[in-house]
């Protein structure tokens, strides 16, 4: 399988405190890669490094390389990087003063990526891909905050998809949701892998097992083990991985 993203010797510090140590990881294309590990192990920090979100925090320092199709994203324009590598957050963050339509269109609009006439098509396509179109097609002008939390999360996925990214990063995308919404999002993620490379950070091992093709286990800022999901869960090579998946550390 082709590698979409390759992380080489990645280190991240906040002020003087190091939170990511020498991470190396090859994320395969058009597959779902899960990153699991106990809370505080650095999995979210790793994910945000792939979207260059640490650029915004003066205290954060990133060293190492993140290659997208062989090119280091830290040597490119961060705006272009973020458009190619979309990010979905733990809690849905719809823009509160905007309608459903505007929420999906805003990224395209502010990046000057499409003419006005095409916006409607883009919005419809993105909402369809996010499995939300049927529910909102008649209320596109309603405020986004009127949607349920589960719908809001699919809306933010649609908003990211509207930019036609190549990679989707998801930071515990279902942890704020009820079980029904969670199931919907999981189905959605599985459907999306035909077109996108997806990295999901999750603290829910069963979710990783259900939806991902590959799994990386992180512990104390390091990647301990990376393998095909079924292999990693059935046959962990490291003792600490086994301890984690059997629930002896958390």
């Amino acid at each position: 399988m082709k590698t979409k993203i390759e992380i080489r010797n990645l280190n991240v510090w906040f002020n003087k405190r190091q939170v990511i140590y020498d991470v190396n990881l090859k994320v395969p294309e058009q597959a779902i890669t899960a990153v699991i590990g106990p809370s505080g192990c650095g999995k979210s920090t790793l994910l945000r490094a792939i979207n260059r979100l640490h650029d915004l925090i003066p205290e954060a320092k990133v060293k190492g390389e993140v290659l997208l199709d062989g090119k280091d994203i830290y040597k490119e324009d961060p705006l272009v990087v973020r458009r190619k590598i979309g990010m979905v957050f733990q809690k849905p963050v719809p823009f509160p003063s905007m309608s459903i339509f505007e929420n999906v269109a805003i990224g395209v609009k502010l990046n000057d990526l499409a003419k006005k006439e095409r916006l409607e098509k883009i919005v419809e396509r993105s909402l369809r891909m996010a499995a939300l179109w049927e529910e909102v097609k008649d209320i596109l002008e309603s405020p986004a905050t009127s949607l349920s939390v589960g719908q809001q999360q699919r809306l933010t996925i649609a908003r990211t998809l509207a930019l036609e990214p190549e990679v989707l990063l998801m930071d515990e995308p279902t942890s704020a949701l009820d079980p029904v919404s969670m199931k919907k999002i999981e189905e959605l993620i599985v459907n999306l892998k035909n077109d996108y490379t997806i990295v999901v950070v999750t603290h829910d091992m069963r979710q990783a097992a259900r939806i991902s093709d590959f799994t990386a286990f992180m512990y104390e800022g390091k990647i301990i083990e990376f393998n095909e999901t079924s292999e990693l869960f059935r046959n962990p090579k490291e003792e600490i991985t086994e301890k984690y998946i059997t629930g002896r550390i958390s």
Partner: protein
């Protein structure tokens, strides 16, 4: 034992009475002002009041139309100058205000906010009225704009600070350039608060008198150019209130009625809008 219980009871009663009476004492002036302004103001109000010039002092005919016109012109012009500067200053304070190099600017905005408004009037008199050798509508509007800028800057900054950081982050994650993210995502999310701040600043300058005295002076005639003196509701109240003619005093109350109506309406508008949010 009993005396202790009595003492405690007396203390509690005293405390309650103190709090209760304080509240009553503060509410009485509010109602007294509203009551007196309505009672005396309503007598002054008729059609002429809204469409006629004041006429010579002491005559019972005429109205305050030029003062209404003047206040509208002054407030509009001041807002055209003051609102954009205030909002952009607020954005600057929000985005860069915490950095060391901008300490001086955020400090100046604070001091400008504290400035007695009559000092602003003196400043505009020296820098605009004196060189132009004429009191003018322009000078009045400039003085009001200066009063407005720090108010709007601070409310804008505050409203922006209240937007959750996750919103700004979500915008950045979409690859939106930083400045567009501030203006179209963060500012947009804070627009209720920013608008409230603008409305409050407009209400405030509508009621300003002191900085107008030495800038636009007041006038008995219609607006006749930006470089000429102009009347305002507040100047008319101030000048007419202490005249010995009952007809002038009546016009002052009428103008106060109108002004109070606008001030209270704008403030209540903001309060009810704040709750819907």
């Amino acid at each position: 034992m009993i005396s202790l219980r009595v003492k405690k009871k007396v203390q509690n009663t005293f405390l309650f009475l103190f709090a209760f009476l304080s509240t009553i004492i503060a509410i009485i002036p509010l109602f007294s002002i509203i009551f007196e302004v309505i009672k005396n103001g309503i007598e002054a109000i008729n059609l002429d009041f809204f469409i006629q010039l004041p006429g010579p002092l002491g005559e019972s005919i005429g109205g305050i139309a030029n003062a209404i016109q003047g206040t509208l012109i002054l407030v509009t012009l001041a807002s055209i100058i003051g609102v954009p500067i205030g909002v952009i200053t607020g954005i600057y304070l929000y985005e860069y205000g915490k950095e060391k190099k901008s300490t001086l600017i955020s400090f100046s905005v604070d001091l400008l906010y504290d400035l007695p408004s009559i000092v602003v009037g003196i400043f505009v008199y020296i820098t605009v009225v004196s060189p132009m050798r004429s009191f003018s509508a322009l000078a009045g509007a400039l003085a009001l704009a200066i009063v407005m800028i720090p108010i709007i800057a601070k409310t804008t900054e505050e409203s922006l600070t209240l937007v959750p950081p996750t919103i700004s982050e979500a915008g950045i994650a979409l690859g939106i350039p930083k400045w567009k993210n501030i203006v179209f995502i963060v500012l947009n999310s804070a627009k209720n608060g920013v608008l409230n701040g603008i409305v409050l600043a407009v209400a405030r300058i509508t009621g300003e008198t002191a900085p107008l005295i030495m800038t636009c002076l007041g006038s008995n005639f219609w607006f006749s150019g930006m470089d000429k003196p102009i009347n305002s509701l507040t100047l008319l109240i101030w000048r007419y209130a202490m005249q010995p003619y009952p007809s002038a005093v009546k016009k002052a109350w009428g103008a106060a009625f109108l002004l109070l109506l606008v001030a209270l309406a704008l403030n209540l508008l903001v309060k009810s809008g704040g709750e819907r949010k």
